[in-house]
């Protein structure tokens, strides 16, 4: 059965009715791959890609709110630097045209580039159900364990929001120039109060923040010494593993390298004002 609701309310109805019996699908760039590999064998779908309300991007009270169905191609045109660059690093043009930010968050892969950029920007995610309505929660609380999230069986992701436009930087190391799965990626953002957040991809079971490093940075002006300290500290905050893509040794070292590089960029670019907008 392939349900194709045109409204979010209808989708929530179906979701509460069918629960885990139905597979939610949007761009399908994760779902179809999993089907091909035989990892999932869905029989019923709720296709949310026709719901216009999920595809909007709007500004509201200093927040930027992005519908769950916003594609990486859309995000690639935005002013939020880390998110834009992360989005443009996803797959190739075809994947960016189909893949959505909601799908990326729902999949919750430790290599999810969108997740990492949003985490560093202190994003919040909005989950909705027919029974309990909408709830906003910090994205950092949403990721629980490997591919385990706070999303309940009757819920859908409705939107994700970021406060203001923090200064942000992004870097992803992969093995090639496109359709490039992260070996390690790092995002950093700094808001107007000098609150700085760091997030990493592929360094543990979930997209990972580095709270101790953030704490060390909070309220401080960036200096080379401080940056070195933070770059050292992050290696203790991440827990990468060896896999056939790369070793823990390399990934850990790269967390430090990227932290240093991105923070240095923020520091050096500071006088240039909102050059990163």
């Amino acid at each position: 059965m392939f349900h194709q609701p045109m409204t979010f309310e209808h989708a929530l109805d179906l979701r509460s009715e069918l629960g885990t019996d139905a597979t939610v699908i949007n761009g399908g760039t994760d779902v179809v791959v999993a089907m091909n590999h035989g990892a999932i064998k869905p029989t019923t779908f709720i296709d949310v890609s026709r719901i216009k309300a999920l595809r909007g991007i709007e500004k509201q009270n200093g927040h930027l709110i992005m519908g769950a169905g916003v594609t990486f191609a859309d995000l690639g045109k935005m002013h939020f630097r880390a998110l834009r660059e992360a989005s443009l690093s996803v797959g190739g043009p075809a994947i960016r045209n189909m893949g959505t930010i909601g799908g990326n968050i729902a999949t919750a892969s430790p290599a999810g580039d969108g997740c990492v950029a949003l985490l560093a920007m202190n994003a919040e995610v909005q989950l909705s159900s027919k029974a309990r309505g909408d709830r906003w929660m910090p994205l950092v609380d949403y990721f629980i364990d490997y591919r385990k999230t706070a999303l309940a069986d009757d819920e859908l992701i409705k939107a994700v929001r970021v406060h203001n436009n923090p200064r942000s930087r992004w870097y992803k190391i992969g093995k090639r120039g496109a359709v490039n799965i992260s070996l390690v990626c790092c995002a950093i953002s700094q808001n107007e109060n000098n609150k700085t957040e760091l997030a990493f991809g592929c360094v543990g079971p979930i997209p990972k923040v580095a709270p101790k490093a953030s704490a060390l940075l909070t309220g401080e002006t960036l200096t080379p010494e401080l940056i070195d300290d933070v770059a050292n500290l992050v290696t203790h905050e991440v827990a990468p593993i060896d896999d056939q893509r790369g070793t823990a040794t390399y990934r850990r070292a790269m967390c430090s390298t990227l932290t240093k590089r991105l923070l240095t960029q923020l520091m050096e670019d500071a006088p240039k004002g909102d050059a990163d907008a």
Partner: protein, 783 residues
């Protein structure tokens, strides 16, 4: 496969002047198979399914890298709805064995499996889904044996033996001069060890095809690289006379050596024989394709080179260990090619090479573009950079001092003339220096730019005394259309066009008057394999010889019509005319109709079979190990991020002497493609195993380059007539890949000051090299 140029209405009325001489050789005639490929009309193996498949087959594969088979139980599989049969070794009528050089690979394993992709049974069902369900229900009981995962394990004392003779499959050696003494007397002696990785062909057109048995003939539509040899192997395995097997090559999307070994042919044949009158279809998924197919050999190359103070090479001592995987495949020939190319296009007076092939429980390793010569170029070019540095000498100057010149000998003792490697190097470097890269010179401190070079040679054909030959037939019809018949397979490289252009050139016909029939064992004669960069040279020569024979008939008939001596006639653009009076002329159609009424056959066949000479086993010396040698030189420029190890190739120049470019656009295509594949090998491609199981059997984690990784490749076509080739042509298939890899590594060396010796130079490996990090080294898991 039959291909014909779509004819446009002829503008050649009787009074019109004859079109100017249209030399087909040297012209980028549009690909005869181009339109159907770009429009999607071409039928590749899997495209045959919708119209013809009646039943589907699927293959049961080993779940162990090394085990004895205790029992095979199909009871449950046969209960699956739609299953029509499960066939094992007991159902195979012939030897049940294949293998291009050694017959050692069971089509369906009976007693023992030696790698994770070994096949055990073939399931036939009404639908593809049922066939796969049935496949998963075949219960095989194994008695696991110790898995030999690395070469080191294979040669360790007391190691479990894959074969009664042990795990060393064979060896090859070169002995020339007195290496120990020359090294002792050298001014510098440099040693290093290179590790090249296991590489997959990753052609896009995954193995797929159909088989049909009508009670008389088994017809297989399966892409291979040498349909006539495949027919012999299938016949032996299935116990059929070759006459009862017909192989027709469907349109094929890439091969790169990956279709040289038998793939799905025997399974399809077996299934078809069991289901007379039904067309059986079988296709792999990408992961099954990677799991089943042979790979490029991973080599460990221990190199020591010596040079005197003037920068002349004195000696080379090279020991190579080659991971042969579970079965021989073409490994013996790859080892020999590795040995004979161990010192590349350099004069080295004293040489000692030992190549050992070692069996493991990894996938069999065999043919892939470069065929052993590719790995050796990584080592010898790497050594040229190292020795130059040890001598504090410029890399180019050092190479030039030692490159062979026309009349010099390579390491096998074969004298080569002409030699154009120096010319290729000059052209590549000139282009690099004269047209500087437009990129910015202001690089951040963590980005380093470097450039490197390579100079390579490649012995064309099978060589070494193997009876390498091609046959061809050319026919003219009464409408003046010439048809070329060749057993050679078009795998994307442009063979069809090359053969049509050669025949057309010889017959003075426009490309529109050409037709070709290729790779159908019923309709065409044997033309050897599309491998070893040999088709342009071998089949090209056979086609030219046949066309030339046919030309004599045409001239003879034209002479009668024009009332002049045949020697005074010119064939041009579909006309024959008196050379000194072009008004006295006749069209090809007329000549052909006249000829047929006069009893001319208008057909000619030819065999091209030049001899090579088998090497002396203990020394590897042979005055003619290969029929001819090809040369090339590359320059590559890279950016290296020294903090992360990421490498970006900014610019790549490739100069290749192709003798004569029959179709320059195709030649350029081969060069660009070879560089792309070489870039993949240099920087990203790597099959990773854990205990014999491939950890990345798909294009998600087997990383091949994208358009974003490839700089615009600057191809330089050098044309230095090959006296033995058709119109001076020889070939271009493999050398571009061989040249690309060492040039990129040389550039990384230049950028970082550290000499790479492990492949691929992924970000992590490059970072480890720069920072000298050995802890938790991924390499330790492979070698």
């Amino acid at each position: 496969m039959i291909q014909q140029v779509t004819t446009t209405e002829s503008d050649q009325t009787l009074d019109a002047p004859i079109a100017p001489a249209d030399h087909l050789v040297g012209k980028s005639c549009r690909r005869v198979d181009g339109q159907e490929k770009v429009t999607g009309a071409a039928l590749y193996g899997a495209d045959l399914f919708p119209n013809s498949a009646e039943l589907f087959a699927s293959v049961v594969r080993s779940e162990h890298a090394h085990a004895n088979i205790v029992s095979i139980d199909a009871t449950q599989a046969l209960e699956v709805a739609g299953i029509l049969g499960v066939y094992t070794h007991a159902d195979v009528g012939g030897t049940n064995i294949h293998g291009l050089i050694r017959r050692d690979h069971p089509a369906l394993a009976s007693k023992r499996v030696r790698y994770f992709g070994d096949s055990i049974a073939v399931v036939v069902a009404k639908t593809e889904r049922a066939a796969k369900l049935g496949r998963d229900k075949v219960a095989v009981t194994y008695e696991p044996l110790p898995v030999i995962a690395t070469m080191e394990q294979a040669i360790a004392e007391g190691a479990c033996k894959l074969y009664p003779e042990g795990n060393v499959m064979g060896d090859k050696r070169i002995r020339k001069g007195d290496v120990e003494r020359a090294l002792a007397d050298s001014h510098v002696v440099v040693s290093d060890t290179f590790f090249t990785q296991t590489v997959d062909h990753a052609f896009l057109d995954i193995e797929a095809g159909t088989g049909h048995w009508d009670g008389q003939v088994l017809t297989l539509y399966v892409a291979g690289q040498w349909v006539h040899e495949e027919r012999r192997l299938i016949a032996l395995a299935l116990g059929l006379p070759v006459e009862q097997i017909r192989i027709i090559q469907p349109v094929t999307g890439g091969a790169f050596g990956g279709r040289e070994d038998i793939s799905i042919q025997i399974y399809l044949g077996l299934a078809a024989l069991k289901h007379q009158g039904k067309t059986i279809a079988l296709r792999y998924t990408r992961s099954e394709s990677m799991r089943a197919r042979h790979k490029r050999h991973a080599l460990k190359i221990e190199s020591t080179f010596g040079a005197n103070a003037d920068g002349m090479l004195t000696a080379a001592k090279i020991v190579v260990y080659s991971d042969e995987g579970a079965y021989a495949s073409t490994g013996i020939a790859v080892m020999r090619k590795a040995a004979s190319h161990a010192t590349g296009p350099y004069c080295v007076p004293n040489v000692e090479v030992d190549v050992y092939g070692v069996h493991t429980n990894n996938n069999p390793t065999g043919a892939m573009r470069g065929f052993g010569a590719c790995q050796m170029a990584i080592a010898y070019e790497g050594m040229m950079d190292r020795v130059a540095r040890a001598l504090d000498m410029d890399r180019e100057t050092f190479r030039r001092k030692n490159l062979i010149q026309s009349g010099d000998t390579v390491t096998t003792g074969q004298r080569i003339d002409p030699v154009s490697v120096g010319l290729c190097l000059t052209k590549a470097i000139q282009k690099f220096k004269d047209q500087p890269y437009p990129g910015s010179d202001h690089l951040p401190a963590h980005i380093k730019r470097g450039w490197g070079m390579s100079a390579i040679c490649f012995g064309l054909g099978y060589g070494d005394g193997f009876p390498d030959c091609s046959r061809a037939r050319v026919e003219l019809s009464d409408s003046g259309i010439a048809t070329v018949y060749t057993g050679g397979v078009e795998v994307g490289q442009g063979l069809l066009n090359a053969m049509m252009q050669i025949a057309g050139e010889e017959l003075g016909l426009p490309f529109e008057s050409m037709r070709i029939v290729a790779a159908d064992t019923e309709l065409t004669d044997e033309s050897g394999s599309s491998s070893a960069t040999r088709q342009t040279y071998f089949t090209g020569n056979a086609v030219r010889m046949a066309a030339s024979e046919l030309r004599e008939q045409v001239l003879d008939i034209a002479g009668i019509k024009l009332k002049v001596h045949p020697h005074e006639i010119t064939l041009q653009h579909g006309w024959a005319y008196e050379t000194s009076n072009s008004n006295n002329r006749v069209r090809m159609e007329k000549i052909c109709t006249e000829g047929l009424t006069r009893g001319y056959s208008l057909k000619a066949t030819a065999l091209f079979k030049p001899r090579t000479i088998v090497e002396i086993p203990n020394t590897g010396q042979s005055p003619r190990a290969f029929i001819t040698y090809l040369f090339g030189a590359h320059v590559s420029q890279v950016l290296v991020n020294i903090e992360t190890g990421e490498v970006k190739v900014e610019r790549h120049i490739a100069a290749h002497d192709v003798g004569k470019a029959v179709n320059p656009q195709s030649v350029e295509g081969q060069i660009v493609g070879g560089v792309a594949q070489g870039l993949g090998m240099a920087l990203m491609e790597e099959v990773t195993y854990r205990d014999g199981r491939i950890m990345n059997p798909g294009l998600t984690d087997y990383i091949i380059p994208t358009i974003k990784d490839l700089p615009p490749v600057e191809a330089i076509i050098v044309e230095h007539d090959d006296p033995g080739g058709p119109f001076g042509a020889h070939g271009v298939g493999e050398p571009p890949l061989i040249g690309a890899v060492p040039a990129i590594l040389s550039a990384i060396y230049d950028a970082t000051g550290k000499a790479p010796c492990e492949l691929p130079m992924s970000p992590e490996r490059t970072w480890r090299l720069i920072n000298e990090v050995c802890e938790n080294d991924p390499l330790s898991k492979v070698f």
